[in-house]
Amino acid sequence: MHKGIKLILGGGVALGGSGAAAQAETLNLTVNLPRLSVAEYHRPYVAIWLEKEGAAPRTLSVWYDFDKAKGEGAKWLRDIRQWWRVSGRSISFPADGISGATRAPGDNKIAFTTGKGPLGQLAPGNYTLVVEAAREVGGRELVRLPFSWPAKPGTVARAKGNSELGAISLTIVK
């Protein structure tokens, strides 16, 4: 019974997608964390998630002090406050495929592949990739990158932060 349904669905997707599902697409994201000249610097906590109107936000990656003793690093996750409200507070940490270490200032690259890991399949529609950073004894900033799906390979979305985030770019490749 279950197998039958699966098979039918599988056929439907392949047809409707007109070959698009045949090959996975990759979202290449570059997040620049500015080098700040401050007396006390800690690498920011960063959350990256995907929003689509009418759908639950999807957390793609969270950079935080996940390896601290007794999970103490999770105490400050709520400071990435918009992400915490829309998605983070419903996730149990550490979370497989989502949790990662904090990153150093400079360009940080991360890739998400359709059909895999936290990204999963993308239904056609208008999306916003959101990057939010919150720094201990520092500030907080959020940058939004809208894009539509399906996207032509080579499509680039760019945005720039002013304080806690530098240039952010999203490139979609086959």
Binding site: G71, A74, K75, R78, R89, S90
Partner: protein
Amino acid sequence: MKANYLIAAALGALMVPGAAQAHRQWMLPSSTTLSGNDSWVTVDAAVSNDLFYFEHVPMRTDGIIVTEPDGTQGKIENAATGKYRSTFDVHLTKPGTYRIASVSTGVMGSYTLNGEVKRLPRGTTTANLAQAIPAGATNVQTAKAASRNEIFVTLGAPTTTVFKPTGTGIELAPMTHPNDLVSGEAATFQFLLDGKPAAGLKVTVIPGGIRYRDALGQMDLVTDASGKLSVTWPEPGLYWLNASTGGGREGGPGAGAPEAGGPGARPAPEGPATPPKDRASYITTLEVLAP
């Protein structure tokens, strides 16, 4: 007349433990939105004029009850009472919303014995009312008083188990969860009085930080027929919310619930003493986050 005065005094004494009408009782948690699997909140508890500055008297901590997200009773730890405030900790180990509440219910009133008007002693409840009234007492007049001062803190995602109404006094039913408030957004709350929607309930909301501004910034709200009201938070921060019925509310004495009769409901001086009205009060502290 004298009987009325005595009743009023008794009501005032019982309504807000340790607080005169002009002062505001409050509990202030160190955080309302927490992450991780194991966290603590520290709560300051005081009675003062300015919000939220401890500058008058501490709130007592012996009646504070913690309800954990699964409905079991928790505890306060490290409680201490100083000159101006009390402080205590709550250890959060379960995901969801905790309630930290100071609740009192009682009966006040008066009776006449041997031609003398006496008032019911403090600590009188519906359970021991019969013993509190001596044989031969006449003109017995009683009223119930229920006060609730509570705050909510959430570890992880907000939950609603702790909002199960008890059916006594004024209670909050979250249409918008009190730990999910963001400035610029409208929040809707429903208030219950003795378990039923409290229509026409006057609710006052005052932003904290009074000391550093001239205007109080008070919002005076009234619940609709279903006991609901909506409030749009002008800015992030802490807000003190107070609702009361049966007289003696924030903003001045006698500004009671809008019961039929209005100001004309005051007892006529020459008439027999009107029975005292049941009273209920509600206080909470709300944290509104920036978007």
